[in-house]
């Protein structure tokens, strides 16, 4: 994921910047980038995009005419994808904004163009057996009123999260939990960056759900897997810690019918996206 983006001009001055995620390096990063841009403008990159590691992130850079372009991205990001976006940004900037920048005129429309290029789509799959509250979790995430009648999902229901999380559009794939639809699961979770395995916190269901963890790890080994111990308001519910122990993944408590859990759940997803392949850490309640 692109955390921030910088375009520097002739004197290595920042003519445009946008930050999508807070960086630990903060001001120090900008200072470094300005000095680094000065160096870049003195070497010939032959029109290519290069990258280097920097304080847990990766800095991608390219130069064209008198401008230097930089992305600060996560280490786990696909290099080819980021390079392609860099090419898109450089081409769009040189075509429509370079002359304006040289004349010190306002860069109208650049912000929208940058969003178009830098905002990514993140697929979050919600998996679990029938009746554990997957669709209710989807409604919770979307801030929707819960339907009064239970209407089982057919195949898959795909909805967007209304708010952007960092610079990502989150697409939620709510997979039908009925066993007849289990033949679709492997195909439907393809390319998911985050998979949420929802359980109803009963021992029987949690034990069954272990199979889902294996399926996800086999089909999308790159995805971040999160366990959800739903229905914590019921007396038979196992604790999230116990559910997590059984599933072998970081697991969080949830009462999907309680709207107060919404922000916390979004924070969990946000953290999972940011951490990429790393282990998710529990978000304090």
């Amino acid at each position: 994921m692109i955390r921030s983006l910088y375009i520097l001009g002739q004197q290595s001055n920042v003519i445009y910047s946008k930050e999508y995620a807070k960086s630990e390096s903060g001001e120090g990063l900008v200072e470094f980038l300005v000095n680094f841009a000065h160096f870049i403008s003195s070497v010939d990159l032959e029109g290519k995009t290069e990258y280097m590691g920097f304080s847990g992130t990766r800095i991608f850079y390219a130069a064209r005419r008198d401008f230097v372009f930089m992305f600060v991205a996560d280490k786990a990001d696909d290099t080819a994808q980021i390079e392609e976006r860099m090419t898109q940004l450089v081409d769009a900037f040189i075509k429509d904004f370079a002359t304006l920048a040289e004349a010190n005129l306002p860069l109208e429309g650049l912000d929208a163009k940058v969003d178009e290029i830098a905002v990514t789509m993140v697929k979050v799959a919600i998996l679990g057996y029938a009746g554990v509250g997957k669709t209710t979790t989807l409604h919770l995430l979307r801030g929707e009123t819960l339907p009064l009648v239970h209407d089982p999902t057919i195949g898959v229901s795909i909805k967007k999260l209304p708010d952007e999380v960092q610079n990502a559009n989150i697409v939620l794939w709510d997979l039908a939990g009925q066993s007849r639809f289990s033949i679709l699961w492997a195909k439907m979770i393809a390319n998911a960056q985050v998979v949420i395995i929802v359980t109803d916190s009963t021992l029987e269901n949690v034990l069954r759900s272990k199979k889902l963890v294996s399926l996800v790890k086999e089909e999308v080994p790159e995805a971040k897997v999160i366990g959800i111990a739903n229905k914590q308001d019921l007396p038979t519910a196992l604790t999230p810690e116990r559910v997590g122990q059984i599933l072998g993944i970081a697991t969080y408590e949830l009462v999907a019918i309680d709207i107060s859990y919404r922000d916390r759940l979004i924070q969990i997803i946000r953290k999972a996206i940011l951490e990429g392949k790393g282990e998710a850490k529990p978000v304090p309640a």
Binding site: M121, I154, G155, V156, V171, N191
Partner: protein, 369 residues
């Protein structure tokens, strides 16, 4: 005739996307798309399914080579599904192929009206798949050298060749099995053996039939056409022309590269249909369109693609002809007989495996000689 057609693509991020529909006013919901997809996944071998969902009668087609696409035909209340069983797969195959290769050429109404379609993969198209799957090509070379080999040993060899444990022999060997080049059988106490049954040769042949016909039907163009072909196969020195029979051990030799090109040309379903129509004689775009039932725009596009591969060329005003005729042919692998004998005398294979190999070769080739 179906009252509506829609083409659905399962996108990893956006889910089911209706990429094209006819008529445009025809509407669908997520439930219908989900259930059609589910029906196909339930029975993976079947590529044609009939469903009745919310009083809508739908026949859907999936090409297993393009698993994320579905071409769906909505039948009227009194339409007979059985009567359309033959026709719909061909139309579906064409629609999906065009959607993947050249979506702007998909005009569903025209396809429906003209009954344009694509047939199932021919034998040479199945051979082509071998050279489009790099690990299959490797396995073929190995089995050509060995004649017969244990699957377990072949698997270890393949992993060492590609330096990866994730390579799956089953996937690599599938195009070889589909095209009948190898047989895989369990012999004796659980020994899985891979037998070479046929070998395959890819080359560009001179389009002799088309030239002969051109001499009769278009004498004014025939000399020019022949000259064009001769320039490719036997150009004046110092150029060496094209001779696929010269042996080459160099994996980077132009002939090995050309074999891949031939495989690519043959595997492209639309180009292949146009190519086969030109094997007989030179034709105009309209004539090709009439014979193949493909729209002229699609034919023209395929011809440009064949031209870029040195397969077809325009030899006169609006007349197209083959300059080279890409062919993949199988032949009896006689060279395996001494290999079997050697392996048997060196105890590398059991008498049972040797006997079975000879049986398979006899079964395969005795009827075809």
């Amino acid at each position: 005739m179906p009252q509506a057609i829609f083409v659905v693509h399962l996108d990893d991020y956006q889910g089911f996307v209706v990429e094209k529909r006819h008529p445009f006013s025809f509407s669908l919901n997520e439930k219908i798309l989900n259930l059609i997809f589910y029906e196909h996944e339930k029975e993976e071998k079947e590529n044609l399914r009939y469903s009745e969902i919310d009083n809508v009668r739908i026949v859907s087609f999936v090409d297993r080579a393009r698993p994320r696409w579905m071409a769906c035909f909505v039948l009227t209340a009194d339409e007979d599904y059985e009567g359309l069983k033959e026709e719909i797969p061909g139309m579906g195959r064409l629609i999906i192929e065009l959607m993947v290769e050249n979506p702007e050429l998909v005009h569903l109404d025209e396809i429906l009206e003209s009954h344009s379609s694509l047939g199932e993969a021919s034998e040479e198209q199945r051979y082509a798949q071998i050279f489009l799957t790099p690990s299959s090509g490797l396995v073929l070379e190995k089995i050509e050298n060995e004649g017969v080999e244990r699957a377990a040993k072949l698997s270890i060899w393949l992993k060492s060749q590609v330096q990866s444990d994730s390579v799956d022999l089953r996937e690599s060997i599938l195009p070889l099995m589909d095209s009948g080049i190898v047989n895989v059988e369990i012999i004796g106490k659980g020994i899985e053996a891979v037998f070479l049954v046929k070998d395959v040769f890819a080359y560009r042949a001179p389009p002799v039939e088309a030239i002969t016909k051109a001499r009769k039907s278009m004498p004014g163009l025939a000399a020019q056409y022949q000259q064009r072909v001769a320039e490719f196969f036997a150009p004046p020195p110092p150029s060496r022309g094209y001779n696929p029979t010269i042996p080459s051990d160099d994996p980077n030799s132009p002939l090995v590269e050309d074999r891949e090109k031939i495989a690519r040309v043959l595997s492209k379903k639309i180009e292949y249909k146009v190519l086969t129509s030109l094997r007989d004689e030179p034709l105009s775009v309209r004539e090709i369109s009439n014979r193949t039932l493909l729209q002229e725009e699609i034919v023209q596009n395929a011809l440009f693609s064949l031209e870029s591969e040195n397969v077809a060329a325009q030899i006169g005003e609006g007349i197209w002809a083959l300059v080279t005729n890409p062919i993949m042919e199988s032949f009896i692998p006689e060279f395996v007989l001494p290999l079997i004998a050697d392996k048997l005398s060196n105890d590398e294979i059991t008498p049972e495996i040797a006997r079975r190999h000879l049986e398979i070769l006899a079964e395969k080739w005795s009827g075809e000689q």
